[in-house]
Amino acid sequence: MIIEHVVQGFVDIIQLHNLLFLLIGTVLGLIVGGLPGLSSPMAMIVLLPITYSMNTLSAMVMLMGIYMSTKLGGSFTAILIRIPGTPAGACSMLDGYPMTLNGRGSEALGYSTIAAVCGGILGWCVAIVLVPVIGSIAKQTTNADIALIAVAGLILVATMMPGSTFKSWIGALIGLFFGTVGLDPVTAVSRYTLGSFNLMAGIPFMTALIGLFGYTVILGDVDKLDSGIQPIRKGTSIKLPGILAIIKQRMSIAIGSAFGIFVGMVPGVGATTSTWIAYGFAKKRSKTPERYGTGIPEGVVVSETAATSDIGGALIPMLTLGIPGDGSTAVLLGALILHNIQPGVMLVSTEPELVYGILASALLAVFFMFIVARLSIRYFVFLFSQRRAIIYPFILVLISIGAFASSNTAFSIYLAIFFGVIGFFLESRGYSVIPIVLGIILGPIIEQNSRLALSLSQGDWSTFVSGWPEVTMVVLICILIANEMRIGLKRRNERLRHTAEK
């Protein structure tokens, strides 16, 4: 049955129009990934309005093309000009850029490309095995389970975010708050609509996404518009390593993909963390750790493998539980909602063609990424050299119209700008916008399922601890909160002791 779905997924994808969309997505992803300041979520958001008129699978195929290839694009600029296009590319820079300085830039690009392909394939293999398994378990969940999974997912994301966990929790609460704006889904009483008709339907998720991933990024980068770009050497190409050289990198590929997949499965952690953990582990277990950072292929391979295998890992909670692993999967979820597909625990059973189609596109995207990168590197190099000051006005137009297209009113643009300004101020003081986005997505899910669970149990709160899955979730939530409180108190006591000693 599952094999039939997998095969059907590939059959659905291997159609001319879907392959064309995948190609477009891959090209755009490589470009956007390579341009510093532009992220995968932003590229996906910019293209989202274009997907309105497509069928759901075609839209997801194009977005998957972007998602997969931004990682490699980000590494290209990291390797060539020491400016990572994406945060995950920063790790590839450690060994990739020294290789460029040593005249081995083309070789570094080659190792990066092959590592990305290996990571993408391995991530896909794990995803294709685990998605049906977790999906069938998830099918038996109750409303209480769904609410608890969403709460646990949100707390996990906030806890795992780099930086201050406390600020991430506040961000998550801000997102949950914005999720309550609009008419109450059960009683239709208006909440926080400020008398506005436009807010009665709630805050459109896409509008918030465009604001937080689009306007926020541009406003935050205004101080970098004048930064110069180093020219890239002419004639840059990708020199692929031979089979023996790839086999020699097998341990780096294994380490990178293991960390990428399993860290990617943890919501909120993202590729950036998985690349650094994988790199650190590879360096630690190496017999010659001092060589890392001097320009060795192992350093490039382990980080690039982790970055792309992370995608396979992140797709697992997204498709089976409706919990996005990172900003890009949050946009993918938004795209599903836009096309009237409700993500969550039932997605695998209610829309198997779509789920396996998305997984099939993830694998095909790997090969498209390889082919496009190999053939077009010199054109990308030209684009990577452009200043942000030229690119950002066009991005502003695209995201403004994207916001407009969600409701055909200018109000959506104002709302997106509002979220952009909020996100800008919050990010400037160290708050990440990802927990806010997740709060907006998961808030309505948590509320509706909790109220349904209580309604079905006639107000009995013990429905949230009625079985071992529920108890496990509650215990996990308590452990996460207690652990963070313990770490916070420990840091505070150390700080006070340090101050007293001074």
Partner: protein, 169 residues
């Protein structure tokens, strides 16, 4: 460092006041709307806003104590630690900071203006002018370069959104 903490306090105070206002609003709202159920339309917002208020109080307390620690540190610092930047350097810093503020504020204002005029002015012309303004605001120079980029961009966007997607622009 002290300046950073003061900015933190300002933002945290804003979030605290916002959360408090939202909590008060929903509590008043639920008292005005008759409801039999203990779990109703206001339960979730009340839980969220209460948690926000509590967390912000904790955060503000922490930030205020950091500020008082920093203040006592700066009072005991020696004269050698005084900032000796020249007036010219300070002037340069202020100028670049001013430019950043203008660009940031300008981005918000012009985007809002773009949204406002979308239904009132021809889309192609508006996008063309918007691109010119933004390119100039972001420091791009060139009497030929700017119009060419703007026309190209406006044409591309017009084709994608009006011709291809048939948006009512």
């Amino acid at each position: 460092m002290l300046n950073d903490k003061l900015k933190d306090v300002a933002l945290e105070l804003l979030i605290f006041l916002f959360s408090l206002a939202a909590l008060v609003k929903i509590v008043i709202h639920v008292s005005n709307v008759p409801t039999n159920s203990l779990v109703n339309f206001a339960t979730f917002p009340i839980i969220i806003t209460t948690l926000m208020v509590i967390l912000m109080i904790i955060k503000l307390t922490g930030t205020f104590s950091s500020i008082s620690r920093l203040r006592s540190k700066s009072q005991t610092s020696t004269n050698d630690e005084r900032d000796d930047r020249s007036t010219l350097e300070l002037g340069n810093v202020l100028h670049s900071k001013g430019l950043i503020y203008i660009r940031t504020f300008g981005t918000v204002v012009f985007c809002a203006a773009y949204a406002f005029l979308l239904s009132k002015v021809n889309f192609f012309a508006l996008t063309f002018v918007f691109l010119i303004i933004m390119l100039l605001l972001y420091g791009i120079k060139g009497l030929v370069k700017i119009p060419i980029l703007s026309v190209g961009g406006a044409l591309g966007v017009y084709f994608i959104f009006v011709i291809f997607l048939k948006l009512p622009l």
